[in-house]
Every structure is written in C-alpha cells, then in structure tokens.
C-alpha cells in the first residue's frame, strides 16, 4: 500500500494508503480528498485531476506521454514544470511517499 500525500493550496496535508495500481486521481476520490474532480474517470480527457508533483520526486515518475502532454494545455490553474495529471500516475510501491500539491482550481 504506497502512501501518497496531498497538499491543499492552504498547506494542509492528507496522507493516505492507496491500493497498488490505483492512480493518484482514483486514490484521491476513494478518500474524499478535496480539489481533485476526475470528471472523465481516468481517460485523460478533462484535466480536472491536475496536480503539482513534489519537484524532488519528479524523476521517479514515468515521462509525460503525448496524450497527457496534449491535455496539460487544458488545466484550469496555469501549468507548471511539475504539473501532471493524477489519472496518469499509477501508484506502485516504487512511488511510496509521493507528495502532490493540489492547485487552486480545476475548472
């Protein structure tokens, strides 16, 4: 059960134990983490699961694929160098301890 920590815009933090194979978006929804919508359910079509990955951890993630790249142009809060879509980050033991910031807005 990899731990993932969500940091709200006000700095408050919530750490949850996610089931392996879940995405950062799914884990947030399963634990009622505020600020993650995931309207499309995980098809990289809505850009409402935008997160900012802790910069020191970016290297642990797979590279951004072309479809995610296309959708990162649609985030409601401005895209940052560490912006990712939560639905495209699949949680494994290797990502235990991942920290993601939630942007000010998703729509």
């Amino acid at each position: 059960m990899p731990d993932v920590t969500y940091v709200q815009p006000d700095g408050s933090r919530q750490t949850i134990g996610a089931a392996t194979g879940m995405s950062v978006m799914q884990a947030a929804l399963a634990h009622d983490v505020a600020g993650i919508i995931g309207e499309c359910g995980g098809s990289a079509m809505c850009a409402t699961c935008h997160v900012h990955v802790d910069e020191s951890q970016l290297g642990r993630l797979d590279a951004v694929e072309p479809v995610e790249e296309a959708m990162l142009g649609s985030t409601a809060a401005p895209r940052q160098p560490n912006s990712r879509l939560g639905c495209q980050i699949i949680l494994t033991e290797a990502l235990h301890g991942l920290i993601v910031g939630i942007p000010e807005k998703q729509t």
Binding site: G41, G42, S43, M45, C46
Partner: protein, 403 residues
C-alpha cells in the same frame, strides 16, 4: 498471469444480447449474467462477456492484453473482413493509436472547446424556447434529435446540405457492431447513398476553415498525420459523435421525465445539468457495450481465454454492479457518478466526451431554467438498434416556470 493458476471452465449462457427481449430491457439479463460468473461464455456467438464493474474496468484498461484492433463490435477482424476500414482511433492499438489519440485529445480538449460553449448555449435556448411556449412536445423529435444534429456538424464545419444522411450513417455504424441479421441488412442497404456523401463532405475542400474538421487537416499539415489519416479521423467524428450524443441526450430526457423528483432537483438548480447527464450515462448509457479482442492466451478470473477471442464488455451492466454502486438501480443526479463506464475508460475512453457533456449540459440547463414539470403524455417508443440504447419518441407536456 501465472500458468500455475487454478483454471476452470467458464459458465456458459444462452443469453442473446441482440434478441428483441434483451434489447427491450437488458437489465434483468445483466443481473443474470453477473450472478452467473465473473467471465461468462455466450454460447450463441462463441464470445466471452464481463458484466461486473471490476472486470469491465480491467479489460478496458489492460489494452495490451485486450486490444481494440480486433474490432469494436461483434465481428472478429482476425477472422472476417470489416464492413468498413477499421477506425484509426476506436479500432487501433498503440503506437498508431497514441499518435491519432494525441491529436484528437488536443482538438477536443476543454481548452479548445471553450469557444464552442456560447454557440451551444445560444442554440439550446433557441430550440427550447418555442417548445416551452407550445407546452406540448416530443422531446426526441423536437430536441434530442435536432439539437446535436445542428450544433455538432456546425462545430465540425460540415456543409449544411445532405445532413439528413448522417442518421442513416449512424444506423449503419451501430448496426455494424452487432450480428449480421435483418436489422444489419436494412441499415447497410443505405450504403450506396450514404458512403459517397460521407466521403465527399469530410474532404478538406468541403469543410469550413474554422471548424474541428479543419483542425484535423491542420494536424496533417504539421506532419502529425498523413492526409489519408486526417480524412478517416474526420469521418470518425461523424460515426462516433452524432448518434451517441443524440441518444445520450434522449436517454437523459427520458430518465428525467420518468423521475419527476429528479427533474425538480434540476429545475431548482440547473447547474446540476452536467451531473444529470453523467448519472444518465451510469444509469442507462446510449453506448451499452464495446468489444475487445485477446492478443494472446490469457486467464481472467480463473477462466482461460484463448488468443484472438472476442470479449464483450457490458458497460451498462458494470454501471449497475451493486459491488461498485450503492442502490445501483436508483437514478439519482446527486450521486457521485464519476467512474461510470458510459464513456468507457482508459486510452480508448471516449475522446469526444467533453463535447458530449457540453451539448448535454447546454440543452438540459436551457430546459431546466424554463420548465417546472415534465409529464409524459403518450407512448414512449424504443429506437431499434444493435449497438445503441435510445428512444424514438417521448411525448410530453411541459409546464413553464412562473416568472
């Protein structure tokens, strides 16, 4: 999957998902299939079916094992020739699919669609106002059919003439997902008049320069697609983006008319329009199933499935799975419907879903702002189709809100 796993025979069912009884009311059959097992073989067609949420999601997201290039419908492209060239998006696998999907994702992304919202809302108001003034309407013939058939081809940049053929094309596409029966033959009989129209109107020269279709050809100019691929993807807009939305909006109106307490919630708060549409797709999506094809011998839930076999993913059954949904047979527009499979999910999740939501939200909100109650006043007729759920007629009385 380990070969050391305990493998057992799959339960076998004689249920026919294209029988008249099944098409009229599939939900008792879905319950039966869910009770029969996690993977059930359908003897009549020699195919495998998954009816639970977890297995449906597994099959849809494991695109390496359960591929799309074997065909989105019953036909097995490993064994028979498709009636049309396989779609470059719906019936393609990575890496080809990744390239076409990235282009479509960009063109149909929320950022690209911002420009369409006002046009969609203005047209919704224009169509809804006279219906409310009249007080009686057929919400299918007067709204669910004409609205998407106006705004979506306009957004695409399709020429105004000959659009009556779009529905005939949709009939062919969705009959083409089912067995080669009388309905299939009847739909395909229109091919000689429909296919030349589709080919001509999707060409670069025939499309308006400022529409979504022209955006596709611009991707070809940029070297992201070949000219032929661009042409085929524009046609995919018409096969995948018209009938699904027409019937999805029809399903939403039918659900809301049948559940007056839900209409009251929406009329009180029209901002629930988008949620009402997603709950409709969970409750009874216009796209009830899709097929995948095994790329190799595999074991799913202890059942051995050989290579190149068709797997029927029963989306509308997964969306009623009591293991995933509380009170699954209750239509509730306030429920958290995110995660429903009405648009599929994963790399093949509906690429036009944000357009569909925008259309449905615009038209449902336009109605909800003006109408206090909807009362069904005549026979509701189902639309016969092997591949889509939808209704042909929804006669209602509309009571306007007091100003």
């Amino acid at each position: 999957m380990s070969t050391a796993q305990l493998v057992r025979e799959a339960p076998v069912s004689d249920i026919d998902p294209w029988s008249d009884d099944f098409l009229a009311d599939p939900f008792p059959y879905y319950r039966h299939l869910r009770a029969a097992g996690r993977v059930v073989k359908l003897a009549r067609y020699g195919i495998w079916s998954v009816a639970h949420y977890d297995e449906a999601r597994t099959v849809l997201t494991d695109h390496g094992l359960f591929c799309s290039s074997g065909g989105a419908g019953l036909a097995n492209f490993h064994k028979e020739k498709p009636w049309r060239p396989p779609s470059l998006i719906l019936e393609a696998d990575p890496p080809l699919h990744t390239r076409t999907r990235a282009v479509l994702t960009r063109i149909l992304s929320p950022a690209s669609l911002k420009a369409l919202r006002t046009r969609f809302e203005v047209e919704a108001d224009r169509m809804v106002e006279p219906l409310v003034a009249r007080g009686v309407a057929d919400l299918i013939a007067d709204l669910a059919d004409p609205y998407p058939l106006k705004v979506f081809p306009d957004a695409l940049g399709l020429a105004a003439d000959g659009r009556d053929k779009l529905r005939l094309y949709g009939d062919m596409v969705f009959a083409g997902l089912g067995p080669k029966n009388a309905a299939y033959d009847a739909a395909m009989a229109f091919a000689p008049q429909v296919l030349p129209y589709i080919r001509d109107k999707c060409s670069r020269a025939a499309l308006a320069p400022d529409g979504l279709g022209a955006d596709i050809y611009r991707a070809a100019d940029a070297g992201e697609l070949t000219e032929e691929e661009a042409d085929m993807l524009v046609r995919s807009f018409l096969s995948a983006g018209v009938d699904t939305t027409v019937n999805g909006i029809g399903q939403a109106l039918h659900c809301l008319a049948r559940h007056p307490e839900q209409w009251r919630l929406l009329a009180d708060d029209p901002s629930l329009a988008r949620a009402a549409f997603d709950e409709t797709l969970r409750y009874d999506s216009s796209a009830p199933f899709v097929f995948r094809t095994t790329t190799r011998d595999t074991v799913l839930c202890d059942v051995e499935i050989p290579q190149h076999e068709k797997v029927l993913v029963l989306l509308n059954s997964a969306n009623r799975d009591p293991a995933r949904w509380e009170d699954p047979d209750t239509f509730d527009i306030r429920r958290k419907s995110i995660g429903h499979l009405g648009f599929g999910v994963g790399i093949h999740g509906c690429v036009g879903q944000m357009v569909a939501r925008l259309e449905a939200e615009s038209v449902l909100a336009a109605l909800a702002r003006r109408v206090e109650t909807i009362e069904i006043v005549g026979d509701v007729r189902r639309r016969p189709s092997s591949g889509l759920r939808g209704i042909a007629s929804l006669p209602v009385r509309l009571t306007p809100k007091r100003r």
